[in-house]
């Protein structure tokens, strides 16, 4: 498999726990990127831990291993359009995606990218192609 990939927050977290589970899969991809929204989501995990050493290690992972990945912007009109994407998924009883996942899905659809995520259900419910790199 080789396609344009958008890496979701959940995959970066798995990479922080153990990068060996991702490296072989990554090496087979032609083009990887992430979303600015993913950077925002992961940043919560930098600032929330009560232990200062954990915060520092999370910040270092973010700086050294996430920031180098090209981050695609969220466009202003997507804030107005994301409600349709999430609302349709809810109305059809498929899932209840978060606002953050909705904006990541908008970015993936705009850029024609497959979302690499552990959270397959919510993205699939919004009509996005997905792949779970751990499987």
């Amino acid at each position: 498999m080789s396609e344009k990939i958008l890496i979701d927050t959940s995959v970066f977290v798995e990479g922080e726990i153990d990068p060996r589970v991702l490296v072989d899969w990554l090496a087979r991809q032609d083009d990887v990127a992430t979303s600015e929204l993913v950077l925002a989501e992961f940043s919560v995990g930098i600032h929330a831990p009560s232990d200062p050493a954990t915060r520092e290690r999370a910040r270092k992972f973010f700086t050294d291993y996430i920031l180098p990945v090209p981050a695609l912007p969220v466009l202003s009109q997507e804030f107005r359009e994301v409600g349709r994407l999430i609302g349709d998924a809810i109305r059809h009883g498929k899932s209840r995606p978060s606002l953050g996942d909705g904006l990541i899905a908008m970015c993936a659809l705009r850029e024609d990218r497959t979302v690499a995520t552990i959270n397959i259900k919510d993205f699939t419910a919004m009509g996005v192609e997905t792949v779970n790199p751990l499987k």
Partner: protein, 89 residues
């Protein structure tokens, strides 16, 4: 940097080159008001390039699992709030 719409219109290729190759953003004003921003889009990275970078990271289950727990709790909290306020049937 800042530029007027008239300046950008006259020298569009020059400004675009600064954005694309210089990595700078141009804030464009129109009749004295901030109107738009011309910004670079991110470059391309292959999976192999990122695999090389990520493979330098030493596994850290303690930090990773703490970040995972926090993000999952935040996600559940947002979903509960959404259900409480929107009450979708």
């Amino acid at each position: 940097m800042k530029a007027t719409a008239a300046d950008v219109g006259r020298s569009f290729h020059e400004y675009l080159s600064r954005v694309m190759h210089g990595g700078m953003s141009v804030e464009i004003t129109y009749h004295g008001r901030r109107a738009a921003v011309l910004s670079p889009l991110p470059g391309k990275m292959t999976g192999k390039e990122y695999a090389t970078i990520l493979s330098r990271h030493k596994p850290d289950s303690k930090t990773g699992n703490e970040v995972k727990r926090i993000l999952q709790e935040q996600d559940e909290h947002e979903r509960k709030n959404f259900d409480r306020h929107v009450r979708v049937r």
